[in-house]
């Protein structure tokens, strides 16, 4: 595996660690994809802005040999955008996995 896929590899680890919940715990997150897409489309913006600012100020920077080398406007590595999509997905899978097992409410209108 080329080292440029190191960042993406960590994201694959997160996906592998969470996607099995969709099958084993029937989280039905992908089955509710319009809602998932809506969350993803909205949640990435504040974090991309934060990322662009932090990169411009040098708060954090990347080992360019360990990322894809594809950049978005604001010098944001594509890898970062993928992070802002994968983490919300894994988080929602976790919440719904807990709900699958425990049945705890979150007042999302699913019983009305």
């Amino acid at each position: 595996m080329p080292s440029s896929l190191a960042y993406v590899g960590v994201l694959v680890f997160v996906l592998v660690g969470s996607m099995w919940l969709e099958v084993a715990l029937r989280t039905h997150v992908l089955a509710r994809w319009p809602r998932l897409v809506l969350v993803m489309v909205l949640v990435v913006w504040p974090f991309l802005l934060w990322d662009a600012y932090a990169i411009s100020q040098g708060h954090w920077f990347f080992d360019t040999s360990l990322i894809t080398g594809v950049y978005l406007p604001g010098d944001i590595p594509l890898d970062e955008l993928l992070f802002f999509l994968v983490i919300p997905l894994a988080s929602i899978l976790t919440l719904e996995a807990v709900r699958s097992v425990k049945g705890w409410p979150v007042d999302d209108g699913s019983q009305s």
Binding site: A6, R26, F47, W60, G103, W104, P105, D108, S110, Q111
Partner: protein, 147 residues
Amino acid sequence: MTYTQIAIMGVLLAVVLDLFVFRTRLVARRAFWVSYAIIFFFQLITNGMFTGFGIVQYDGAAILGSTSPTSGPPPMFGDGRIAFAPAEDLLFGFALVLLSLSLWVLFGRLGIARRPTAGPPIWRTFSGKKTGGKSPGGKTETGDPDR
């Protein structure tokens, strides 16, 4: 502003959105905190990989700890770091997770893809306790405060 300052602001903003703007009140719910505890564990591993391998590095002027070393990993613990990553990353992660989950609940409440709800786990199907994908565990979900 430093990463430390923005990260604290990010957490406060996410909590304000959850409590007062979206009124999803996830921070008052058991389902959220149990989920976050699981996420937190995996976040330490993931952050540890990003920073321990030096994929992402930090400027000491922006964080509590010092600048990531040019060769070799930063300290695993101490110097403002937890599992190689700056403590600030935990705040960043909390804000990202809370905003994501809060929006997820909000859109459900607005009637977007409420169903199919989660469950039942496949082992409950195998053991014959089929609940039909609704109210797993036989509990009803009424939106009442759950603690």
